[in-house]
């Protein structure tokens, strides 16, 4: 990484410092709350889950809810955290490119000897770091909740569960850069990619609910997301999704370099 890229990443993170807390703290506190209440509702929860339809349990990745890890998966990691982090990723990458274009910052940065490709790459790298920081903050607060409540939360499982969100969210950062190649309006970039995020989630859900439609899941990044808090990280899926995110970012950077930056 060159000095320029490091400077751009640091600048991006400095601008987004409020966002790190604004996303990390609520997600972490919510997650911690789930862990804290688990011991007191464990028995009632198990009985309730047994009465759920099998298809519903499969759709939301709920097996048994006899451990705090299973409860975290059902309440946080199957829906809220991946959708929230996916959206955060688009917002972060858009703030460094289309947001910068809207505020005039892009014109100032591109007055310096930095290529657009490097600027896009730095925005992607900074988003990757931002996502990691938010996830670390979230998992730390979650583990703290486990310590306070006495819930038997496995450190390794929690780390795997939250770390597994990172490549999935990063993929939407890559899509965000692609979208920036077509529009420099933040609302268009975040809106279109958030739409893809939700659509992919729904496609995966439909594929899981109806075995006849399971093939459609290949069109969704959520197919490769899995249940890392219980099954551990699938290295192939983790690296594959990360690689796709990087390829998307590279394509986006190429498009961004070729487009006009109108006043």
């Amino acid at each position: 990484m060159t000095a320029q890229a490091i400077a751009l990443v640091r600048g991006h993170l400095s601008d987004r410092r409020r966002s790190l807390l604004a996303w990390g703290a609520p997600l972490g506190l919510w997650s911690a709350f789930i862990v804290v209440i688990f011991p007191s509702i464990e028995n009632a929860l198990s009985k309730a889950v047994q009465s759920y339809p099998t298809a519903l349990k499969e759709a939301f990745g709920i097996g048994e809810l006899t451990s705090v890890e299973q409860y975290l998966q059902a309440e946080m990691l199957s829906l809220i955290v991946p959708l929230a982090l996916g959206y955060l990723a688009v917002r972060a990458v858009a703030s460094g490119l289309s947001g910068a274009a809207e505020s005039g910052r892009l014109d100032v940065l591109l007055s310096a000897p930095v290529s657009r490709r490097r600027l896009a790459a730095a925005s992607f790298a900074a988003t990757a770091v931002e996502l990691a920081i938010v996830l670390v903050l979230t998992v730390l607060l979650t583990l703290l909740g486990g310590l306070v409540s006495g819930a038997d939360l496995s450190l390794g499982a929690a780390l795997a569960g939250y770390a597994n969100v990172w490549p999935l969210a990063l993929l939407f950062a890559g899509l965000g850069i692609v979208a920036t190649g077509f529009s420099l309006r933040t609302s268009v970039v975040t809106g279109s990619v958030a739409g893809v995020l939700v659509t992919m989630y729904v496609i995966d859900l439909v594929g899981r609910l109806d075995p006849d439609l399971s093939g459609v899941r290949y069109a969704s990044a959520f197919k490769y997301y899995g249940n890392a808090i219980e099954d551990g990280i699938d290295p192939l899926a983790f690296c594959g999704v990360t690689a796709v995110a990087i390829v998307l970012a590279a394509v986006g950077a190429w498009l961004f370099e070729r487009r006009d930056l109108a006043a």
């Binding site: 400077a7 600048g11 007055s111 290529s115």
Partner: protein
């Protein structure tokens, strides 16, 4: 070698007009004014030079380098103040400065502190809390702190109070003394008249004239106001080629004259002259002459 050289530079936005066949050059240590009303194509030209817009046709070279293919190398040697400068709301000028210095590989902030003191600029407050004029001062510092070889300034004095405008004009003159080339876009005609060596007049996306300021002023029609003890017969003065709009009232004579003044002075010399005033036209009048009469 010219510092900036464009050849038939054209940028079209679909059906909308951008710029067409813009050809000009700016020599080293020259202050070149780019004049035109809003929407004439000044900013489009500048953004094309900076590779923010890709030309539809034609080419531009800066420091002898292609403005598109070698844009990064070019930008290492220039400073740019974009029109309507902005940098977001949260960051302070100092944070922006620190990042730009790192991107340029500069240790420290160059002459930023001295410039901040000179322009009374606040580098520590978030830019979102500054008035437009105070933001513009920060923009000027970001464009000049590294003592570039070429300064590109798009409407640089917009929002500045008159005192700061004076300070800015002094800075441009000092930059030229230092050997810096300046391309200054403006519709503030007075400031262009005061600091520019040459001026390009842009109209509806086309560069309609490039002139030295003194040539423009020299060729333009000056207004002569005389106070004569004996107005007498002004027929000789009235008959001179280039003399127009002659009016005489109570010993006060006013006329406009273009080109060589010698014949008019000699004709006046036959009279007893109590007072005389020669007024050069403002660049605005000259500009309106180009802009208004060119269909």
């Amino acid at each position: 070698m010219a510092v900036i050289e464009t050849d038939g530079l054209t940028k079209l936005y679909g059906r909308a007009r951008g710029i067409e066949h813009v050809t000009f050059s700016v020599e080293a240590a020259e202050v070149f004014g780019f004049l035109g009303p809003n929407g004439a194509g000044k900013t489009t030209t500048i953004r094309t030079l900076l590779d923010m817009l890709h030309p539809t046709r034609g080419s531009a070279r800066i420091f002898g380098l292609d403005s598109h293919r070698e844009s990064v190398a070019i930008r290492a040697r220039l400073g740019n103040l974009p029109g309507d400068f902005g940098y977001g709301r949260q960051a302070s000028g100092r944070e922006a400065l620190r990042l730009l210095a790192r991107l340029r590989g500069i240790d420290g902030a160059g002459r930023a502190e001295a410039l901040a003191e000179r322009f009374h600029a606040d580098l520590d407050r978030p830019l979102g809390q500054l008035s437009r004029g105070n933001r513009q001062k920060v923009g000027l510092i970001l464009a000049t702190f590294h003592s570039p070889e070429l300064l590109i300034l798009d409407e640089p004095t917009s929002g500045l109070d008159p005192l700061m405008q004076e300070e800015f004009l002094a800075l441009v003159a000092e930059e030229r003394e230092r050997g810096c080339t300046v391309l200054l876009s403006s519709h503030e005609l007075d400031e262009v008249e005061r600091v520019c060596d040459r001026v390009g007049i842009v109209r509806e996306g086309r560069l309609i004239a490039v002139e030295r300021i003194e040539d423009l002023l020299g060729r333009a029609r000056r207004t002569v106001t005389l106070e004569l003890a004996d107005p007498g017969d002004l027929a000789e003065l009235r008959s001179l080629p280039g003399v127009t709009d002659l009016q005489a009232l109570d010993g006060k004579v006013t006329f406009r004259v273009g080109g060589d003044l010698d014949a008019a002075i000699k004709a006046i010399a036959h009279h007893h002259v109590l007072d005389m005033e020669l007024t050069h036209p403002s660049l605005e009048e000259i500009f309106l002459g180009y802009y208004g009469g060119g269909e």
